[in-house]
């Protein structure tokens, strides 16, 4: 993969913090009196505000979806998490669209969440921060749209948990989007998905440094638990074959199943023998230094609770009867976290509800993470679909010009 440069990216971007004073009642019944959302914007909003695209992030994402935070950073800093897709001339083209990306409530990248100070006691919320659901996120995103003066998004796009937010938008605010792009998602989590999340949560809460979630007050954090949680999560993001490729480079035959050794020989002990072990530990540890454990706990619950059919007697088709936005659903062949069958469930439900839907099943070894990777056919399909969306925005502008 080639790293994005300043030239082919949206360039240097400046995050903004937007404060909302209106209380937000959550699905749980709890209320957040006021909150901040961190956002980034790329491209320019057109005169009739018809070219706005909202990007919804997945479990560990945030508002920094594209570009770089500083000129110096271009050398050593990674670009935003979806820089493969967002930028000038890219699939989500910042020359055509005004692209908004945010950090969701309960996150830990600047929006109000467990690390924020609870005004009631002057201490970080920690475990007292209420569980937020996808529906609550979408309600807060709708307020962000109001703030930005965007009545209707040209498209809302998201992968994984981000795709679930897109589905929720189409149900909660059917008139406020023209296109719903749902990538590598599922209509709800399976027992297996929830099981993996539970292992992640247990590893965090059983870390002695967790202190019932009040670890900030003890000047520590559950590093081991969060590392372990991320390690298990990371395995579910990759595929068997992508792991073989990644850890099978030393093998001349290519048939050692990715079992390349770390030091070239077996240690006959319980330390690292294979490259995959040190890789996972490295990934887990670096994540644990950049992410808040309470946020991780909370967002895995957000995932587990996602089930938009719950208000419709378990019939998701009924949920889709309102509205007329078009859908693009995309899945990846080697994704075993949310495999193609789960995306086809969404497609089939939309068909039964007589909705307009396109579906792509992309051949890729990238596993669940393929949605973040520059898979050529995926980018081509997304780009083709969005070129039509861009033309609609341009046409509506022309019509307005004629009217005025």
């Amino acid at each position: 993969m080639t790293q994005s440069t300043l030239k082919d990216s949206v360039g240097i971007v400046q995050p903004q913090c937007i404060h909302f004073d209106e209380a937000l009642t959550l699905r749980s019944g709890k209320v957040i009196d006021s909150y901040d959302l961190m956002i980034e914007c790329y491209g320019e909003l057109n005169a009739d505000k018809s070219n706005a695209i909202l990007i919804c992030h997945a479990l560990s994402g945030d508002h920094h979806a594209a570009g770089f935070h500083s000129v110096d950073g271009v050398q050593d800093e990674k670009p935003g998490w979806w820089d493969n897709c967002i930028g000038p001339g890219k699939a989500i083209d910042s020359n055509n669209f005004f692209i908004v990306s945010l950090n969701n409530l309960g996150g830990c990248a600047g929006s109000t969440g467990p690390t924020s100070i609870n005004p009631a006691n002057g201490k970080p919320f920690g475990p007292d921060f209420p569980i937020v659901t996808v529906r609550d996120w979408v309600n807060s995103q709708a307020r962000l749209a109001d703030y930005l003066g965007i009545e209707q998004w040209a498209a809302i796009v998201g992968g994984s948990l981000g795709g679930m937010q897109v589905v929720r938008w189409a149900i909660s605010y059917p008139e406020r989007l023209r296109h719903a792009i749902v990538i590598a998602a599922a209509p709800k989590l399976s027992a297996q998905n929830i099981a993996f999340n539970e292992v992640a949560r247990q590893s965090i809460t059983s870390d002695p440094d967790f202190h019932q979630g009040r670890y900030y007050e003890h000047n520590t954090y559950p590093k081991k638990g969060l590392t372990l949680a991320r390690m298990i999560g990371h395995i579910t993001y990759l595929s068997d074959s992508s792991m073989r490729d990644k850890f099978g480079k030393d093998s001349l035959t290519g048939k050692n199943f990715g079992r390349d050794l770390s030091t070239g020989k077996l240690n006959f002990g319980f330390d690292v023998d294979f490259q995959v072990e040190s890789y996972l530990q490295y990934k887990g540890e670096s994540f644990s230094g950049n992410f808040d454990a309470n946020s991780y706990l909370l967002i895995t619950k957000t995932l587990d609770y996602f089930d938009p059919a719950v208000d419709y007697d378990g019939d998701l088709g009924k949920a889709f009867l309102q509205g007329n936005c078009k859908f693009l659903v995309v899945s990846f062949s080697s994704d075993w976290r949310f495999p193609p069958e789960r995306s086809r469930e969404i497609v089939n439900t939309l068909l039964k509800a007589n909705r307009q839907v396109s579906y792509l099943e992309i051949e890729s070894d990238g596993g669940h993470d393929a949605f973040l990777l520059p898979v050529p056919r995926y980018l081509e399909g997304l780009s083709a679909y969005l070129s039509v969306v861009a033309n609609e925005s341009a046409t509506s502008r022309e019509q307005d010009d004629h009217a005025s």
Binding site: K326, L351, Y359, L360, G381
Partner: protein, 196 residues
């Protein structure tokens, strides 16, 4: 405009729902959208075709016809189309049943394998016919279930399928008096409009 398209499009009602199985690059659905303001849905497997459909703003679903159409509800479309694909599927009879379950009416076009030149080819050369119209060898042809107009008529009879309209044409989709006299001998392509 493809000649078969100009015949078929007259059978499609404005504002109706059309499902095109094997929709190719979506050009027929695009035309129907422009001229008849239909609700479009296409199925295809070819990646280039799917991208072309997306570029044209056609709703396209990547789906293998041979894996069935169970994901489509009964009577959910006004017309289900299958153009020049019947002979390439694994279970043509099952597909026809499925089309009639999903669509109120169906349009099916296929090459007539009883066309006199194909018969002559087989008799004189003793080999499977290869023509400019069907340019494949027996081992690499996507066409695995050839049928004739008589065969399809008997399938319709067997399944009590109503034939609303049948047009037999040549490779340029033109009709001639010879084809009307003996469609199964002189016709190259058959176009059927059927319902339950």
């Amino acid at each position: 405009m493809r000649a078969d398209v100009s015949i078929i499009k007259d059978w499609i009602e404005p504002q109706s729902r059309v499902l095109d199985l094997g929709c190719g690059d979506g050009s027929f659905l695009t035309l129907l959208k422009q001229e008849k303001n239909i609700f479009d849905c296409g199925l295809d497997l070819d990646q280039e075709n799917i991208t072309k459909c997306l570029l044209a703003g056609i709703n396209v679903i990547e789906q293998d016809l041979d894996k069935g159409l169970a994901n489509f509800s009964d009577n959910s479309f006004d017309t289900v189309l299958l153009t020049q694909t019947l002979q390439a599927v694994q279970k043509p009879d099952v597909l026809v049943d499925e089309m009639l379950r999903i669509g109120k009416k169906c349009i099916i076009t296929f090459p007539n394998f009883a066309y006199w030149r194909y018969r002559l080819y087989l008799i004189s050369k003793g080999r499977m016919p290869v023509s400019t119209y069907i340019p494949f060898e027996w081992y690499n042809t996507p066409n695995i279930h050839f049928c004739t107009i008589k065969d399809f008529d008997s399938l319709c009879k067997e399944k009590s399928i109503k034939v609303l309209n049948r047009t037999v044409v040549d490779d340029k989709y033109q009709n001639s008096s010879l084809m009307n006299i003996d469609p199964n001998f002189f016709g190259i392509n058959a176009i059927y409009h059927i319902s339950r």
